[in-house]
Amino acid sequence: MRRNEYAGWREVFLFSLKQEMKQKSFRGFLILMCVIILAYVPVSAWLQQKGREQTRATEVSRLTVYDETGLGIDYSQALEGERYEDLRVAEEPGDGFASHVQVLEESQGSTEMLVHVTYEEAGYFNLTFVKAATADLKDKDCDQLSRDFESFFQDARIRVVDVNQEQLDFINQPVESRVERTTQEGEITPEEDGEGISMTEYYVLLAGIVIVMMIVNLSGGQIALSIVTEKSTKVVEYLMINVRPMALIVGKILAALTTVVIQFAAYGVCYLLSATIGRLVFGNAQSGVDAEGQSGIMELFAHVNVGTLLLAAAMILVGVLFFSIVAGLAGASVSRMEEMAEGLKIYQLLLVVGSYVGIFLCIMQMMGNVSDVVVNICCILPLSAPFVMPANLLLGKVGVATGLVSLAVVIVCTAALFSFTARVYESMIFYNGNVLKLKDILQIAKNRRAAVQNPGPAAPGGAGGNLGGGRVKPGKGGRTS
């Protein structure tokens, strides 16, 4: 590749970037997203606060308990705390429940609730809560009350057999079970494939895939649209006497990447601002950045250091470059704007395959049905690597060595794709006709190779148009180079 093949990329880059920034749709979307992100933390904190305020005090004024279990539970201590400060809990003999229900039915707007505690023959305790049909009580309030009462009942029914608080806490400890296997040496080792990732890790992996997919989609779409516009409006005719095709595509790709980086940087800054505003106005607990949550997230990213961060960022960058080149090729295969969707099928297919592999892997990781080998393979495959590798690396699911191999593979594939593009793009950019299929593009590459290897008579064109053409190289007697 000669250097002058790329002369003029800077002008193309600056022009493309400026025009993209000036687009109303771009600015509108950017502003909208920034406003949403800026408002996110304060608004959600405000809603949480409002929700807490609303549920702080129950609207239920009295709870009458009809216990027919005969356990002898003392319900006077049930439902304590700030929420139930104004609530009066009363206990009545069980047989009065039906008549009290009758009274409640006839009452207008009573805020009293009844609970009927029974032991069923089928072998379980049953708590039936009743409120008046005309009662102005919120379902959420009643549900919370029933849950709190149930929690009290769970402890109380054990306490009646003289279990103290310490013993009760011990009984209530969670139970965890796992299957382990013995080695040939007789040692017990944990089952490798059985442990799935946590929900938080699952969300982090999924978010990683979605973010990369958004970046790829935004930049790829922008490049393809720009190329198709230049081809369909014939601007390319004018450009081609001033700038080489490769400079054109390089300038566009870099402009698209810069646009996406600017977008995401703006979103990041907005989120930081949003979190700061949320913390200042509502405090840590309400703004969703409480110490417990922070430490939990920090634990997830315990493996992160500057090296892994750079590796993940490099992978995203190279991955976006890879898909941008595919988008550029797909755009050049189209001559008319209305055929763009058809021309972009290959690009979209590759994008879908790559991201779906990532999503599928993510689900399998959560279910614990996937081995490290499969994760490593998905991180190395060039189509899925940009979606899978960064988040898995940051979570410590794959090692730095795998990350490096993955990056190297994607770089090699991107370089090969770029070299292929350099061979066919010149011919494709002038092609005017139906959408070029993959076999047509391969035919162009074949013709160009034949022309380079045998610079005598030119290789004939391919399918139905100027598929073997290209630029005259000075000093070569006008032969196809």
């Binding site: 400026k18 000036k22 409006t233 601007v235 004018y238 001033n242 006008g478 180079s481």
Partner: protein, 331 residues
């Protein structure tokens, strides 16, 4: 000798779209590339500009292989293109920058050409006092003619040594046609080299000394326009009389080329036959309103050459068809 085109050939598959085209521009002026639709004019221009690889042949500029990227060439494409949704000023500055024109110089030249081509209002939206300034115009807000003017501006911004105009006057109204012609004349006066392709033969006759007529990729006529015309002789006779004179035409066995209310166009073998015809008209006391004897126009030469070549092609195809027993279509 500044531009030399040597045996340019271009094939698409089995089809030869340009077949050994050669011509030279020895001195500044306008060179015409003529041809029917699909004759290979635009392909030839693209090869000259290096946009398209030729299968064989060479283009030399001042004796060296021409590289449009490293010389100052202006190009007005037949299929004109501007970014529909970008501001015109941005586009012109971009095109100028690609040509290496400094920004300030580009702005000065844009201002000059905007005035010259009467498109200032689109590039410099007027500001009305007390009102919000109008937004700069996008290409898709302009008429086709005005878009063409912007394209011509883009071609001229770098003050090119060689200017290639592919159908520059197509789609223009008479006022703008005159405006474009004036600019072409100015460029000629500045000593520029121009290659122009057009279907408007009158315009070509107005500007060009040398021409090439292409038909199906081949040059069917080339040379100095005046010499070409002279070689045909004064064989076109235009006659209009107050009385009918068909009997005299019949007597002289002259073919009628055209019959209009403005008179009849007749084909004569030479000046002597024309004078005999005139003498007969006068002898028989026909009131002659108009009598003109002149060389064939470029239009007529073009029709004859392009038409003949097409007929020859058609005959050859028929022959091939007959040889193949009429079973194969011409490919």
């Amino acid at each position: 000798m500044s531009l030399e085109v040597k045996k340019l050939t271009k094939k698409y598959g089995e089809k030869t779209v340009v077949d050994g085209l050669s011509f030279t521009l020895e001195k500044p002026g306008v060179y015409a590339l003529l041809g029917t639709n699909g004759a290979g004019k635009t392909t030839s221009i693209r090869m000259i500009l290096g946009m398209l690889a030729c299968d064989s042949g060479q283009v030399l500029w001042q004796g060296k292989p021409m590289d449009a990227m490293h010389m100052n060439v202006g190009y007005l494409a037949e299929e004109r293109g501007l970014y529909p949704k970008y501001e015109l000023m941005d586009q012109l500055l971009y095109f100028a920058k690609l040509k290496g024109v400094p920004r300030d110089t580009a702005r000065e030249r844009i201002a000059y050409w905007a005035g010259r081509l009467e498109v200032e209002e689109y590039l410099y939206p007027p500001k009305t006092k007390g009102k919000k300034a109008e937004k700069p115009k996008m290409a898709d807000q302009l008429s086709k003619g005005n878009q063409q003017k912007i394209q011509l501006m883009a071609a001229l911004l770098s003050e090119p040594q060689l200017l290639i105009l592919d159908e520059p006057l197509s789609g223009l109204d008479p006022v703008n046609t005159d405006l474009f012609k004036g600019i072409i004349r100015e460029e000629m006066d500045k000593g520029k080299y121009l290659i122009m392709s057009s279907h408007q033969m009158a315009t070509i006759e107005e500007f060009c000394e040398d021409i090439t007529i292409l038909n199906r990729g081949r040059a069917v006529l080339q040379g100095n326009l005046n010499e070409i015309k002279r070689s045909y002789g004064r064989v076109n006779m235009f006659v209009k009389c107050d009385q009918p004179f068909e009997d005299i035409i019949e007597r002289h066995a002259l073919p009628i080329i055209n019959d209009t209310p403005d008179g009849k166009q007749l084909k004569v073998a030479g000046e002597e036959q024309a004078l005999d015809f005139l003498q007969d008209l006068l002898k028989e006391r026909r009131q002659v309103v108009k009598f003109e004897l002149r060389e064939p126009s470029l239009h007529e030469i073009f029709i004859e050459k392009a038409g003949t070549a097409q007929e020859e092609e058609s005959d050859a195809a028929d022959r091939r068809k007959a040889e193949n027993g009429g079973t194969h279509e011409e490919k």
